[in-house]
Symmetry: C2
Subunit: 204 residues, 2 copies
Amino acid sequence: MSGTAPRLEDSPKRTQIMDAAAALFIAQGYGAVSMDAIAKAAAVSKATLYAHFRSKDALFATIIREACQSNLTFGAFETHGADTRAALLELGGRMLRFLLEDRALAIHRVVMAESVRFPELGRAFYENGPRTSCGLFAGWLKAQADAGRLRLSDPLRAAEQFFGMLKGSAWGRAALGVPPAPNEAEIDATVASAVEVFLRAYGT
Amino acid sequence: MSGTAPRLEDSPKRTQIMDAAAALFIAQGYGAVSMDAIAKAAAVSKATLYAHFRSKDALFATIIREACQSNLTFGAFETHGADTRAALLELGGRMLRFLLEDRALAIHRVVMAESVRFPELGRAFYENGPRTSCGLFAGWLKAQADAGRLRLSDPLRAAEQFFGMLKGSAWGRAALGVPPAPNEAEIDATVASAVEVFLRAYGT
DNA sequence: GTCTATAGGCCGATAGAC
DNA sequence: GTCTATCGGCCTATAGAC
């Protein structure tokens, strides 16, 4: 080992390829993106592309797997004071706004579409996205329940129900590209109504 | 007009093409299916295929549009007696089982994936699927409310919340192909819990 | 309308020079 | 590692016989 040679993973060309491929695959999906298009967008030759990635399949799987391992959960759950309703409103608002971001919607579309041919990607997305978020939220709910501010026996199910109500029609429409895009008022109203139902069912 | 000549739409070859193309497109998506594969599966030549459909795009749009115009809602809402809870359990169970069918999941995947390139398909799916089901269910909820068996001010939102809770994690997992496939016990438990939350929030 | 045969192009992947 | 140039194949779509 010479010790100072840059590793393959850090080469600038590889970064260019990863960035370009991520943008294209996430925006357009597997089938609609050619290796020529990726090489052109990354400003490298196709041969360089194949020097770094064995095949189009391997490149796609690497890109999407990495996209699934970051930025798929919507932030922290810390410090929401003693007001459970206010905390739910804040958490719900952040969650729904995250789910409605273009990038999150696009990744969801691509992974769902290709989960048949690339089952590992469906699993990676599920574990790092919905399951992690739900698990964290369920933990928060359990803490609230232990503190006597909620009354529930199955925190994970309650978390899933809350997220399900949040998504409602706004997310379904956005995921299918059906206008109008949800506006702030619709998002706030959806969150507020979900919190209301949740507290009527699980509040003390 | 000779009067007895079979119309193009009724030709047996066309039926073969539509059936084969529907099966392939719904199962594998737009990009993964070639016109050769459709012709072979339909037992016709490619030239015949192009005699009936201008292009692959047009064939795909026709197939998916038709798939969106039928079999995307889960049945009728009639005659559920006076017991609101029992009715919700029955409706919820039918709805969730319908959403978990292979065909419904596959159409959802294909439409969501191609809704960027074929915006009309996203809209057709949304209108004929979720929106129609939600609207019908909201009407049923309103009737229950008018009869004094529920207390809610926004039937459509309540319908969306109920459907959102139904989907929960079982549907998310199934749509991404993540094992284990939901079993009957999980489905029943999900429905029962959603009905419980719904009635605590909106029951009388 | 339906077929066989093929045009014409783009695709994924590679050879070989440097 | 990176390039230019190219291969072989599959793709969409069509020409022409019947």
